[in-house]
């Protein structure tokens, strides 16, 4: 929802994870119309990040509030990795050493491992949090918001979300007692879980289900999510997007992109925050008489757009279909008589 020149209630950090999510975010135009948003864009594909960083690219348009991170391949052995992280890392199999790399992660586990080992991601997140805490807002302040944004369009990108929240919670330790309250929401464009997906969408379906299952498990036991053991400390809702009609949640990546753009812009609007405030589990974990891990929320979105050009075309077709039989003009001689 467009919010320019309207009272703000929050500054937001949006963590955008994976190429599909980056594509949806970049094309949403949300940064253009919301000055109270900064973003960290992370991808396991080097080309994606290079495109964002090139002169005239997305980052150059918002240099003070866009941070990009290339999640480089993890080392094949973890000899140099701090011991405390090892239980959450998945080493690559020797047979897979030539796969993945700069072209992207091998799988969800590889993506999560890359993210957990990425100092650049952690630093970028820190800078974004500083930006969000330091920017003066124009309305009545509620909190600083962090939105983890992932379209489970393919297998890998969504694999980083749990790890990203863990890192985020750890970074927030630095802000404890010295800064605003922070609300973390996760916005997931999920594939159909309800019915068998078309073959080309099977990955997304499995990725979506895996992500939701992981989040559920992490909520039940925060020590499973990552080395910080703090997963869920600031968590608000996990918003799962989808339309009402049967057949699943989202049909394809295009649909995920379109709807998640709408949802994201709705979520960052000040009015939305006020409406959702009462439902924040961090304020009252037993909201809606549910247990603490019941933090998944459904989102439905719809825009009604009046596009005169499109409407004119269709109305013209209706008129054509209902035009009367052309009347023969009355000859002048007959008219005179």
């Amino acid at each position: 929802m467009e919010t320019a020149n309207r009272p703000e209630t929050m500054n937001h950090v949006i963590m955008v994870l994976g190429d599909t999510s980056i594509d949806a975010f970049e094309s949403s135009g949300i940064l253009e119309v919301n000055d109270n948003i900064c973003t960290v864009l992370a991808s396991t594909e080097r080309a994606t990040v290079e495109a964002l960083d090139e002169p005239g690219g997305f980052r150059s348009r918002f240099p003070d509030r866009v941070w990009t991170v290339y999640l480089k391949p993890a080392p094949t052995d973890f000899a140099q990795v701090p011991q405390r992280m090892l239980p959450w890392l998945t080493p690559r199999q020797p047979s897979q050493r030539l796969r993945g790399g700069a072209e992207g992660a091998l799988d969800r586990a590889d993506a999560a491992t890359r993210l957990l080992l990425s100092v650049e991601f952690s630093d970028a997140l820190n800078r974004a949090l500083i930006w969000a805490h330091s920017r003066r807002i124009t309305g009545i302040h509620l909190a600083v918001g962090v939105i983890g944004f992932a379209v489970a369009g393919r297998m890998t990108g969504s694999g980083t979300l749990v790890a990203a929240v863990d890192i985020l919670e750890e970074r927030l330790l630095d802000f404890t007692g010295r800064a605003d309250e922070v609300w973390i929401d996760l916005l997931i464009g999920a594939a159909s879980i309800h019915q068998p997906a078309p073959r080309e969408f099977e990955d997304a379906q499995i990725g979506s289900a895996a992500l939701i299952a992981e989040l559920g498990a992490a909520l039940a036991d925060s020590t499973l999510a990552g080395p910080s053991g703090l997963f869920g400390t600031h968590l608000g809702q996990i918003l799962v997007l989808g339309p009402q009609e049967g057949g699943g949640i989202l049909r394809d990546v295009r649909e995920a992109n379109a709807s998640i753009q709408l949802a994201l812009s709705a979520i960052v609007s000040g009015d939305s925050q006020r409406g959702r405030e009462a439902y924040r589990p961090s304020a009252n974990r037993t909201v809606n008489r549910r247990q603490p891990e019941a933090v998944f929320a459904g989102i439905g979105v719809l825009e009604v757009v009046f596009d005169p050009a499109v409407a004119s075309q269709l109305v013209a077709r209706r008129i054509l279909a209902t035009m009367p039989e052309p009347k023969k003009p009355v000859p002048e001689s007959a008219a005179n008589t």
Partner: protein, 433 residues
């Protein structure tokens, strides 16, 4: 030239050709055929023939001028015809038939024969007399005026006989230039109007939905837009959106005002009709916002339907009635029609800057992960089993494996979700539509 009736186009051309022939031959005088003070051997007959041939040679230029004028007149008549009825095609038909009736032009031999045939016997004699008189200037001064007068009289008669021949020749050249063109245009128009008629007869109603860019985007109902357009274009549309009888003449006037060739090409004609209708609607909608659209159409916004379409998918599958929050951002315009309507359903609706975009969102609270996954009819155990190879870290994988084992050992499947959470199994997959 002024062709006022396409059926008389040929006669008008003939009249113009006659006038042109008279003008051209009028320049041939005694002085130009046999100059009085000619120094040397005069050949007045040769001069005459040369001048006449030159006149015939200039016939093409005259014909071109007449063709241009005729074409302009016929186009004017055609435009008038189209203004009354875009399917009419009498003008080109009648003009073509009329022009076809003109005589054929003369070829080089024909011109030669026509000139020679009209010269006769007396004119050459009169020419020779004057020629001789010129060479014997001093001796034969006497009778000079009489001989020149005789040549003048013969010359006038010759010109009088020649004028209709040249006129026919010019008219024939016009025919050659114009008749085929008019026939071709008539035939092309026939094809175009048949195609246009077929296009109209086979046109299908697009339905009442105006789609948006994706599944979560749509436009106002087509009937609402149509009615709003009808208010603005009452000359073309009844209040309920049905086209009036004036719509065809209006289309005729539209094409008559532009390139007539459009109506001589089936695809162009069809395209022109589409463009005319679209531009008529677009001009009627010009400046209308989403809000003003409903005010103008005097139709209530379809708020309940929209809100229904914005409902969150996870409303189903919950063991308890979830709480809902509705949000709306309504275009901020002068009229309050839309925002008042939306606020009857969503009291917290706020106004937004965009004029033509209403945004609705529904949030439903709150669910556990197992409830979300339990939507799959194959059961939670199946889902967990499918995703285990794809879990993002070993610790989570271990936890999910343990959960799966627990479900299996409890002998449950999807309904085990609710059991694991301490809820009755009602309302998960069973409530999925």
């Amino acid at each position: 030239m002024t062709i006022t009736n396409p059926g008389n186009a040929g006669e008008t051309v003939r009249r113009d050709a006659s006038a042109a022939a008279r003008r051209m031959l009028g320049t041939i005088s005694l002085g130009s055929v046999a100059p009085e003070s000619f120094a040397g051997q005069l050949n007045s007959e040769g001069n005459l023939v040369g001048l006449v041939r030159a006149g015939f040679d200039k016939g093409q230029a005259q014909a071109t001028i007449i063709v241009a004028a005729a074409r302009a007149d016929i186009e004017g008549l055609r435009r008038d015809e189209l203004r009354a009825d875009p399917f009419a095609n009498d003008c080109l038909d009648q003009a073509s038939r009329s022009i076809h009736q003109l005589p054929a032009p003369l070829d080089t031999d024909g011109i030669k024969q026509a000139i020679n045939g009209l010269i006769g016997k007396h004119l050459p004699e009169a020419c020779r007399d004057v020629d001789r008189m010129t060479t014997s200037w001093l001796r034969a001064r006497q009778g000079a005026d009489r001989k020149r007068k005789r040549l003048k009289a013969e010359l006038d008669q010759f010109i009088n006989r020649l004028t209709p021949v040249l006129a026919d020749h010019i008219a024939g050249l016009v025919r050659d230039d114009l008749a085929a063109e008019l026939t071709r245009r008539y035939e092309a128009t026939e094809l175009a109007r048949a195609a246009l008629r077929r296009h109209w007869e086979e046109a299908t109603d697009p339905g009442n939905e105006i789609p948006g860019a994706h599944r979560f985007s749509l436009g106002p109902r087509l009937q609402v837009v149509l009615k709003a357009a009808a208010v603005q274009r009452s000359d073309l549309l009844h209040r309920d959106g049905r086209p009036t009888e004036a719509i065809w003449p209006a289309f005729g006037a539209h094409v008559a005002a532009g390139n007539l060739g459009v109506m001589e090409d089936p695809q162009e004609a069809i395209k022109a009709l589409g463009q005319f209708l679209e531009s008529a609607v677009a001009s009627a909608l010009d400046g209308l916002t989403l809000d003003a659209l409903y005010a103008k159409a005097e139709e209530p916004p379809e708020s309940p339907s929209w809100i229904g379409l914005a409902a969150a998918r996870m409303l189903v599958g919950s063991p308890v009635q979830p709480d809902k929050v509705h949000l709306a951002q309504v275009p901020d315009t002068k009229s309050d029609v839309l925002i008042n309507q939306i606020r009857t359903h969503i009291p917290t609706a706020t106004s937004a800057k965009e004029e033509n975009r209403l945004q609705l969102m529904e949030l439903t609270y709150s669910f556990t992960a197992d409830e979300v996954l339990g939507i799959d009819r194959r059961g939670l155990a199946y889902v967990l089993d499918s995703i285990l190879p794809h879990v993002s870290n070993p610790k989570l994988k271990g936890a999910l494996q343990a959960k799966l084992a627990a479900i299996r050992s409890a002998g449950t499947n999807a309904s085990g979700t609710a059991a694991a959470n301490g809820h009755s199994p009602q309302g998960t997959s069973a409530t999925v539509p």
